[in-house]
Amino acid sequence: MKHAFTAAAVAAAALALAFLVLPVVALFLRVPLGDLIDALGTPAARDALIVSIKTSAIAHATVLLVGTPAAYAIGRSRFQGRTLVLSLIELPLVLPPAVAGIALLVTFGRLGLLGGTLDALGINVAFTQLAVILAVVFVETPLYLRAAIASFEGVDGTLLEAARTLGARPFRVFARVALPLAGAGLGAASALALARGLGEFGATLLFAGSLQGVTQTLPLAVYAQFEVNLDTALAIGALFVVFGVALLLALKLIPGWTRSISLWTYRSASSPSTSS
């Protein structure tokens, strides 16, 4: 009986794994690998790649630049309404992307909440590359903030106090102590947010549209090319798989790599030199 259950559980695990892996493999099997690489050279794929890299780079840099000090401020302080702030940060995570897109449109669109002001300044947001960037920032921010806040919360407060007693002003405490100590967590948060941003579809489609060479990002190109040229759609899909595998490997390996290095230095240094 016990054996039968163990066998059934293992079979269930194999089934689940096959169900997850098979479609990924199928992406690569439908068309010969050479054709896939060629398909990445089509104008639609090339334009989408450029739009995605450009908008993601700007959006991601913005998220890191604003999100990191923001996470430090929230992670290192206790104030009234902190739980509310944390909940507000997490709200976009539970919204469907299409809702996020509509929300952005009624905020920054020509007839939106800030539309009049932006129009007066001569800025048109909706259906431009700026809209793509805003959409990506909007979906990346909660993901990054949440993990970055947790990373800063994990830093031993005594170390920050020690830095202060040594004369370090707030920026130096942040840059020399808090940032390096939260580094590993921030790196993981950054990688996950980047992946989420690159894959963003719904919010971008509603808020920025899908104009080739302007607002058509890689995921939007998959959708657009699906009916035009399946090879291109498959090629972009395969590209995402390669990127995803690389990202997951990096996430798994980098902390492990740091740990094994430190373990090694500990072992090699502790035995001979403790006497001096």
Binding site: T158, A162, L181, S273, T274, S276
Partner: protein, 315 residues
């Protein structure tokens, strides 16, 4: 100077308030400069106070080398590394160091910016008993060399007596007594101070007797005599090294003889700490061997009335 007291007495809070890490009210003035004066709204932030703080667990920056740790407050710590015997460890990370080495790094780091005041929070509590004594002597020398106003906080009177010329006893945020270690041992202000300095504190009921002595009746019915005077509830204070042990009651000049069974024998270096009923005695290892003392044996603890202090029970 050192502050001694049980945990929760407010020792660490005082250090943190001095360093500017804890919100405080009152006045702190160092070398004529006000760091805190609540009445005038002065509260200099921690980073602008000239203070070196050695944290309880040292709080070394784990991601920086020994050199970078020491130089965090001020560049050019080569001489300091040399002086603290850390030159060879300059490129090591804190986790590779022993407890004593970590402490030297923490002290060197705190002294690097040449602070007006040096504060140490339980500097020896992070060490195991084995290295503690050695590190304590080393720390004593380093503090003497540092030669500046220093406040050490500890729960251990022996640590305080070794590291500081003056010791304050702090209980529940109040200073119970302030004096040299010798003064505290010779005339403890209250039973708490007495027990902190390592004395036997024995409770009982005191009344004067003829010959000008005072007799303290213990709850067990035994009596202790003292040359001090007291009446009513009181405690007798006797230091372990004032007590002699024997197998039978000796015919000597000591007024006080307490009989009991040996509850424990703990060797400490060349001495043995013997627990007998309510009393702890400290005798030499040689005497203990000569008497062939064993746990469970009956014995008599003797001490003179002149070595017995009487204190009021409360306070």
């Amino acid at each position: 100077m050192a502050l001694v007291g049980p945990s929760g007495a407010g020792k660490t809070t005082i250090l943190r308030a001095l360093a500017g890490l804890h919100l405080a009210r009152g006045r702190i003035s160092v070398d004529g400069t006000d760091w805190l004066d609540s009445s005038r709204g002065i509260d200099v932030p921690a980073e602008e106070r000239s203070v070196g703080l050695v944290f309880q667990e040292y709080a070394l920056f784990p991601h920086l080398t020994v050199r970078k740790n020491v130089e965090f407050g001020r560049k050019g710590g080569a001489a300091l590394l040399e002086r603290f015997g850390l030159a060879k460890l300059a490129d090591a990370k804190p986790r590779e160091l022993s407890g004593g080495e970590r402490q030297r790094v923490a002290l060197a780091r705190a002294l690097a910016p040449d602070p007006a005041v040096l504060l140490l929070d339980e500097p020896l509590s992070a060490l195991d008993a084995h290295t503690r004594g050695e590190v304590r002597n080393e720390l004593q020398l380093l503090l003497r060399e540092a030669d500046r106003p220093t406040l050490v906080v500890t729960h251990d009177f022996e640590d305080a007596a070794t590291l500081a010329g003056k010791v304050g006893v702090l209980v529940e945020g109040r200073l119970r007594q302030l004096g040299t270690p010798a003064e505290l041992v010779a005339s403890p202000a209250d039973p708490f101070v007495a027990s902190l300095t390592g004395a036997n504190v024995i409770r009982g009921l005191a009344r004067p007797i003829i010959s000008g002595l005072t007799e303290l009746e213990l709850p067990t019915g035994e009596r202790i005599r003292s040359t001090d005077s007291a009446e009513g509830e009181a405690v007798a204070v006797v230091y372990p090294w004032e007590i002699t042990l024997s197998q039978t009651q000796p015919a000597d000049s000591a007024q006080n003889h307490i009989r009991g069974w040996i509850a424990s024998l703990v060797p400490i270096g060349n001495r043995v700490r013997v627990r007998l009923g309510p009393i702890t005695a400290e005798i030499t290892k040689a005497s203990s061997d000569d008497l062939e003392l064993r746990v469970g044996d009956p014995a008599v603890a003797s001490f003179k009335a002149t070595a017995t202090r009487l204190l009021r029970q409360d306070a």
